[in-house]
Amino acid sequence: MSDMHAHSVAFVQETQIPPAPPPARETGVIKWMRENLFSGWFNTILTLVALYIVIRLVVGVFPWFVNGVWDADSIRECRDILQGQVGACFAVLVDRWDHLLFGFQYPADGYWRPVLAFILLIGAAMPALFYMYIPSRFLIATALYPFVAYWLLWGGSLWVPIFVLAAIIATGLIFKLVEGMNVQARTMIAALVGIVAGLGLAYLLYLGAKELWFISESVGSSGGFATIASLLFKAFSIFTFVFFVPMGIFVGYAIYQSAEDGGLVTVVTSLFAIYVMLAYLLGPVSGAINSIIPIELEPVPSRDMGGFMLCMMLGTVCVSLSIPLGIVLALGRQSKMPLIKGVCVVFIEFVRGVPLITLLFVANVMLAYFFPPGSGLDLFLRVVIMITMFSSAYIAEVIRGGLAALPKGQYEAADSLGLNYTQATRLIILPQALKISIPGIVNVAVGLFKDTTLVSVISMFDIVGMIRGPIQQSTDWISVYWELYGFAALCFFVICYGISQYSQWLERQLQTDHR
């Protein structure tokens, strides 16, 4: 210690200073307003301008609302009632309420069906959405819901969805059975399945090659582009002709070889089983049972679905399918196996590079060419496939971001404890990666839900299709815009805001890093 210090620097704190409340002007409304609205001359001006705009809006819209006419049969009657005053014609919503919700072709005496399906949806979604508070055995309701909802919405015999459910359970049992078999029995199955799958694949490739040759011939050679296209198709065709037998043998042999560890043969056998059951047994069996114990609702074809119901159906189905598919794609893209990785990358990049409308047109027009006439997929199903593909590619990329954000140590810790890939992914990696991805997934889900209105361009009558088509083109309600589109916007806003609030709540629930 130098002599310049007159006193010692040693110091001991002997009392603990008690906590005190902050000064009064640092709390409450006044502080909030000072900090958020009037913290400087620039912010003060902004606040005043914003206040002015809000007041003008309210003053402008308020009479329109208050003078709104709820009871009229046409836009002309509305105008008569208003007598030149500013006012909305909400009567259109009352008059066309059913059409806005269910479309104009859904049988009117069956409106209770979608309403019941919607109520059940809320009940069935609860165990999945609030899984931390509801015992997991209630998830059975979630699992059964699609079958019930299908029956309610499309009608027909109840035995059809029941048979499909039974076929899925049976396939699960077959999977377990083949997995648990001894190697000899499995080798026999593998040989059988290998031969059938090999032959089947070879036959399909042969058909494809012939088809390609036919296309090449019909493209012709008039003009440079056609010549190139024709040659390309010929090349593909020859390639397929050369390889259809080796591919069949290769795949068949690969299945046969998998008998020992049982991975491939188990999956292929299960797929075979469910294909046979759905393609050959579904119709006859459910028909037979129905003739003995008929439980039927009036069947409604997909073309007759419409209104906001169609948006809800597409939104619910596509969101719940595209999240699992997105997870699989994201994991596939991270895979060390080049083939799986390649397929996933190509799929994601291709689908992301194409506008959704294009895919919907493909669903509407093109897919019909790929299936034999009469056996074509249902239009609703085709649209679902396209929207699901589209949004799953986006979700896959969101989840990939979540996977990449996990520290490498998490993978290592899971490995070092002896967890295998499936366990580590399911228990350690995905819960964390999905949690990180929630905002992104919700972003895609909300976007998807609103994109369901795009089906109006392929002449499906969803809520926008209904407004643009049957409602506004009727002489009664011509040139009614604000009320109708406002209502559509409100419907979407309620659902999307709900999704957003749920996701924020979920994020808070999953927060574990502080008390």
Binding site: E412, D415, S416, G418, Q423, L427, Q432, K435, T512, D513
Partner: protein, 261 residues
């Protein structure tokens, strides 16, 4: 450096002549970089080995090869009689027998402390949940934090997290424990609580391989100290000899640098 002043009870710390790990002519490359060169190492059951050396010398990589977190490209590694090959079944078997603690703990942040400890026993060992929880509480009591069982890792201090990580490994009842710089990310105050836990483990006769710079720990607990440099084992000896009478110049330089202040 935390000088663990605890008296170490050596009564149980016997080394048997049963071989726990046998590494022969093991080589590893990261791309073109030759990280581990001709590693020969035999670890007997009950041995406590401290591996030290400058950073980049390959000591972490060496112990990470033992449970196949890193793949080796040449030579053989045999753990408890199981040959480490690319066969996934062997790898999973070895991993469930070998516990590991990491520098950054790597606890699972989305699970509670108790769930962290019961996860692997339930899913890998297929032990009933109740039994796994009892085991977990036993080991959490052993590392002296049973009262934290229902908290999440993010709510614990670094030293507590590392002790949970040790308990998590012990719940698998491993026969060998690997420690990869377990105290390097901790405050000095917390180093001691982790080292005490490790000393306790050693006293019970656990086979341990420990990459650490805690020379006090090495002196007290280890029965062999290995010094690595540039991917090779340069020197190995009993701790007394190693510290008081290092043979190679590289070892002398290293010791003078870490013990010099």
């Amino acid at each position: 450096m935390a000088d663990a002043a605890t008296n170490v009870d050596t009564s149980q710390m016997k080394v048997s002549d049963e071989v726990a790990i046998s590494i022969q002519k093991m080589n590893k490359w990261f791309g073109n970089f030759h990280v581990l060169r001709d590693i020969d190492l035999t670890v007997f059951r009950g041995e406590r080995i401290v591996i030290c050396g400058p950073s980049g010398s390959g000591k972490s990589t060496l112990i990470r090869c033992i449970n196949a977190l890193e793949e080796h490209q040449a030579g053989t590694i045999e753990v408890d009689g199981t040959l480490l090959s690319s066969d996934l079944k062997n790898i999973d078997k070895i991993r469930s027998e070998v516990g590991m603690c990491f520098q950054h703990f790597n606890l699972f942040p989305h699970l509670t402390i108790l769930e962290n400890c019961t996860l692997a026993p339930i899913w890998v060992r297929k032990i009933p949940k109740k039994e796994a929880e009892e085991t977990a509480m036993h080991f959490l009591a052993k590392v002296k934090i049973p009262e934290q069982a229902d908290k999440y890792p993010g709510q614990l201090s670094g030293g507590q997290q590392q002790r949970v990580a040790i308990a998590r490994s012990l719940c698998m009842r491993p026969r060998i424990m690997l420690f990869d710089e377990p105290t390097s990310a901790l405050d000095p105050e917390m180093i001691k609580e982790v080292l005490d836990t490790m000393i306790e483990l050693a006293e019970e006769g656990m086979t341990m391989l420990c990459v650490t710079h805690e020379m006090g720990f090495a002196r007290q607990v280890a029965n062999r100290v290995i010094f690595m440099d540039a991917g090779q084992i340069v020197e190995q000896n009993e701790p007394e000899e190693f510290f008081s009478n290092p043979k190679s110049d590289r070892t002398k330089l290293f010791l003078s640098q870490i013990l010099g202040h």
